[in-house]
């Protein structure tokens, strides 16, 4: 391999990126050394197995990925603002929309939600930790390393450019040569391991580690949605693992599963991809539904309306999510019967979704609605998500979809669902649980600015795209002609895109501002909450979460206790030594070996790949002979932490 094939050269924007990457690295190294933070970084973060810290690391990574994916989005919108723009060329545009889509879904939305699940779910079920804390760290680090591997592609070797769907044979060696597509395969594969492990970990956690008295039908809605999500993950991710592995064989070892030669079947890839891909969409929407349920109920000061219906509708959606994948290729000529069946199953998903919308509305009915920022995001969700929902039903009507498919109508639809659903939920959840993570709230006034600028920008950006779609503008084109008449609406759309970018900057400013100036919380109950995570006496729960495991007597146990004026005070004699797992550097090291292996495979350097895989097995081997059963936190330390006066 020559140097000009290793480093991406010749583009000033890429050189700019090179420089900023190097500068950031130097800056971080300098800071860590100057302020002697290396030990702190290693002890507190890199080796941690505390679910709250892992959650925070997930969220920080996701926010960074939102920035990366957002910059990609704005580059695309800039190119599309006017007809025949020369800002990006075709290859560059293709790489950008591919990385944008992949990063947003795999490395932003999912980790953001998994991060919030990590922080909140153990607290909500009254547990001290997750079922497998060490495994949890492995999950995080494999996700992180997968994301990093995918991200460096744009400066080393070149990014993938076959779309986040990577349809074959376009993604084959013959039509997409070079390392780009390998980055996609390996980055997703490594991160996917982490996701699958998370699925197993949280399934067991929720089923096995609930506080006494918390039956399944007393679980908070967010925990319920997480449980259902984990089940989907466990069924869906193995499909992705296999599909990616088969394509990796095709590209690296000359097999012919999906290729043009050797009786390969390109449609098999499309089927496998969407058999995972459609459930994936629900993996990023169900936790969002759970969050909105919590937030709407909290700020309406009212019990969730139709709790059981909410659960059943979620289970229905989860089941259906595996029965609709063909709607992504109605145009593949599967025949009238197949298309009819999948049209109807897809439309049927609208039914439980509609039920949920009405239940949220009636949660507010007869409530006392407070317009806090998390609540604003939730209201914004309802108003905008229904637009995504109804257009989804339109897309489900196969005969009509022949006209919408692969157009901006679709682009608009899925952004209405993903942004108004997932991204709004990420913001809402982040703001809602911020005091749990950092001990203070984000500033509400600045927060409202973020909400309005973002929401208006979002609609200005994506609403016109329905019309562009109906006017025949295909997705994934890097430019269009003046005569097409698509210029004005595209310009409007781009302006909206930049408004969202500005809102993101205000959000980041809000984090800085609140870090400096926000009033610190003194109790654990920043919003007058209903569920157990708000019942810890200190603003931020200590690493063992609960000094004494709560006993649950009903739904919204904490809220009812507060209403009855019977919140138990923690007494020194109730405290027993607490068993906790020890930190471990192994997950981080194992993930680093995954990086070596992945990087080697991307460039087809088998010596490096093998070295990395040996490293991974060595760490597994090491771990299996490690006799560390954790340690006990002494009663004195707990009393000290909880500030109980004797």
């Amino acid at each position: 391999m020559k140097w000009d094939e290793f480093f991406v050269t010749g583009d000033p924007m890429i050189y700019g990126a090179d420089v900023s990457i190097v500068l950031t690295m130097v800056g971080i190294l300098f800071y860590l050394t100057k302020y002697k933070k290396w030990k702190w970084l290693w002890d507190e973060w890199l080796t941690t197995v505390d679910h709250k810290k892992l959650g925070i690391m997930y969220i920080v990574s996701a926010v960074l990925m939102l920035f990366r994916g957002g910059v990609d989005a704005l580059l695309m919108r800039t190119q599309l603002a006017v007809p025949e723009a020369k800002f990006l060329d075709s290859q560059h545009y293709n790489e950008i929309f591919t990385t944008h889509g992949t990063i947003m879904i795999i490395f932003m939305a999912m980790p953001f939600l998994i991060g919030l699940i990590n922080v909140v779910v153990p607290l909500q079920i009254g547990a001290r930790d997750v079922a497998y804390p060490y495994l949890n760290a492995v999950s995080f680090w494999t996700f992180f390393i997968g994301a990093m591997l995918f991200n460096i592609s744009f400066v080393i070797g070149g990014s993938p450019s076959a779309g986040w769907t990577s349809y074959m044979p376009l993604a084959s060696n013959e039509l997409s040569p070079g390392p780009g597509q390998n980055y996609y395969l390996l980055g997703l594969q490594i991160a996917g391991i982490g996701t699958l492990l998370t699925g197993i970990n949280f399934l067991v956690t929720i089923l096995k580690m609930r506080a006494p008295g918390m039956t399944l039908f007393r679980m908070p809605m967010f925990t319920w949605s997480s449980l259902v999500t984990m089940v989907i993950i466990i069924f869906a991710f193995p499909i992705l693992t296999v599909a990616l592995a088969l394509m990796t064989f095709d590209r690296l070892f000359g097999s012919h599963f999906f290729t043009l030669q050797g009786a390969g079947m390109d449609m098999l890839w499309a089927n496998l991809f969407w058999l995972w891909g459609h459930p994936e969409v629900y993996i990023v929407i169900l936790p969002a539904f759970g969050m909105f349920s919590e937030i709407i109920s909290t700020f309406s000061r009212k019990t969730l309306f139709g709790y059981k219906a909410m659960i059943w509708s979620m289970l229905l959606i989860a089941g259906y999510s595996f029965l609709v994948w063909v709607h992504h290729f109605f145009t593949m000529g599967s025949g009238a019967l197949v298309n009819s069946v999948f049209s109807i199953t897809t439309m049927a998903i609208g039914i439980p979704t509609g039920v949920k919308i009405f239940n949220w509305l009636f949660t507010m009915y007869r409530g006392k609605i407070q317009f806090t920022t998390p609540m604003l995001w939730s209201l914004g969700f309802i108003v905008n998500f229904v637009i995504g929902g109804v257009t989804g039903v339109m897309l489900a009507m196969a005969a009509a979809d022949y006209q919408y498919h692969n157009t901006y109508f679709l682009v608009s639809h899925f952004h209405y669902v993903l942004i108004a659903g997932t991204v709004f939920a990420c913001f809402a959840g982040l703001i809602y649980w911020y005091p749990k993570m950092f001990g203070y709230k984000l500033n509400e006034r600045i927060g409202k600015w973020v909400f309005w600028v973002f929401t208006i920008g979002f609609n200005v950006c994506f609403f016109p795209q329905y019309f562009l779609g109906l006017d025949g503008m295909p997705r994934r084109v890097y430019t269009y002609s003046e005569e097409s008449g698509w210029g004005p609406l595209n310009m409007v759309s781009t302006i909206g895109g930049f408004m969202m970018g500005i809102a993101f900057l205000i959000l980041v400013y809000n984090m800085y501002y609140s870090f400096r100036y926000a009033k610190r919380e003194t109790t654990g109950d920043a919003w007058d909450g209903r569920t157990l995570e708000w019942s810890t006496p200190t603003a931020m729960p200590p690493f063992y979460n609960f000094a004494k495991i709560p006993e649950v007597t009903g739904l919204d146990h904490f809220w009812r206790q507060k209403q009855a004026g019977k919140v138990e005070k923690l007494k020194a004699e109730d405290i027993k030594p607490i068993h906790m797992p020890s930190n471990s550097g192994v997950p981080f090291i194992m993930a680093s070996f995954f990086f070596v292996a992945g990087f080697g495979m991307v460039f087809d350097w088998m010596w490096m790949a093998i070295a990395g895989i040996i490293g991974v097995f060595a760490t597994l081997f090491y771990r299996s002979f490690e006799y560390d059963d954790g340690y006990y936190v002494s009663v004195e330390e707990v009393i000290e932490t909880e500030k109980i006066s004797k």
Binding site: K2, E5, G158, L170, F305, A309, V393, A399, H405, G472
Partner: protein, 324 residues
């Protein structure tokens, strides 16, 4: 609160105006044939339902949010109100009814689009094979024994049966004003019926991403009277050069070409629906090798291709491609 919601209302109003004024300008809603018309009708039918749903949800949201906002002397607070069988049954049943109401015409349309349009069922459809190659379209008329590249002529008021396939990446054959798209895949043949009821030139394109040249992977459809079509076909058969195997192999190279016309078809020696490897083999025969897009070689290759494109465009504007 109303003050806070104002941006929403103003925005909604603006969008509504946008939508109503723009409708007839959007080509999907302005079809020129029975297939597109059927789809337009289905789309409009669904839009009314969706507007109704939006209206109900928005009205209810506005009402509840306004009425139960937290304020001094707030009335009607009931913190334990946690469900109602009646209400919940209503909103399980109404969506079910809506889905049924949408399913019936959808299924009907799906079935009817499988065959030629109702109005011209008794006519024999014109068969055209459409083959996608990165990034051009090859159209073969087996009956007329002619072949065109990147444009096609069709008679009006007569169903056209397109037999779609691809020599390499998966493409999607789409002429929005005539009707919805279908995929063209190597090693497969899919069928699509379209029909034009008005004479004119329609833009067609590949709408499924196929890599670098995807954006310009387009073609023109010229709909004309039966007589004109027959005249064109017989003239083409008489005047246009024959397609040689060597020429066809060159078409297999990735890149754009201008419009071309031949008096024979490639179907005589290859059917990509049966032989998905043909294009790759042809590339190998010609010594073509795909370059890494970021390498020096890749950039030189790209420059070369861009220059060829420019030359092509110039020759096009001088009008020495084919005559319509």
């Amino acid at each position: 609160m109303m003050r806070r919601l104002k941006p929403f209302f103003t925005f909604g109003l603006l969008m509504a105006v946008f939508m109503l004024s723009g409708c007839s300008d959007m080509i999907v809603l302005d079809p020129k044939g029975p297939v597109g018309a059927e789809q337009r009708d289905l789309i409009m039918y669904s839009i009314w339902f969706m507007l109704f749903i939006l209206l109900v949800v928005y009205a209810l949201t506005a009402f509840i949010v306004y009425k139960y906002r937290d304020r001094k002397n707030h009335k009607g607070y009931d913190p334990d109100n946690e469900g109602s069988h009646l209400l919940e049954t209503i909103w399980w049943i109404i969506p079910i009814i809506i889905v049924i109401a949408l399913s019936i015409p959808t299924v009907k349309s799906i079935y009817s689009l499988e065959g030629p349009p109702e109005e011209s069922k008794d006519q024999k459809p014109l068969v055209i094979h459409a083959t996608s190659v990165n990034w051009k379209w090859v159209f073969s008329y087996p009956e007329q024994d002619i072949e065109t590249v990147n444009y096609l002529h069709i008679p009006e008021d007569r169903p056209v049966l397109f037999k779609l396939t691809s020599a390499d990446s998966m493409a999607s054959f789409w002429v929005p004003q005539l009707g919805g798209q279908k995929y063209a895949m190597a090693g497969m043949e899919t069928e699509l019926y379209l029909q034009a009821d008005e004479q004119g030139t329609y833009e067609g394109r590949n709408s499924n991403f196929t890599g670098e040249g995807f954006t310009n992977h387009t073609f023109d459809v010229l709909a004309m009277s039966d007589a004109e079509f027959d005249k064109w076909a017989s003239e083409t058969k008489a005047d246009a050069p024959e397609l040689s195997k060597g020429q066809y192999d060159k078409l297999m190279l990735p890149g754009h070409v201008k419009q071309m016309t031949f008096s024979s078809t490639h179907l005589d020696w290859v059917d990509h629906a049966k032989n998905p490897e043909y294009a790759l083999d042809a590339r190998e025969r010609l010594g073509y090798e795909e370059k890494l897009p970021h390498s020096k070689a890749g950039k030189e290759e790209k420059k070369k291709r861009e220059e060829e494109m420019k030359k092509l465009e110039e020759s096009e504007s001088h009008g020495d491609s084919h005559a319509h």
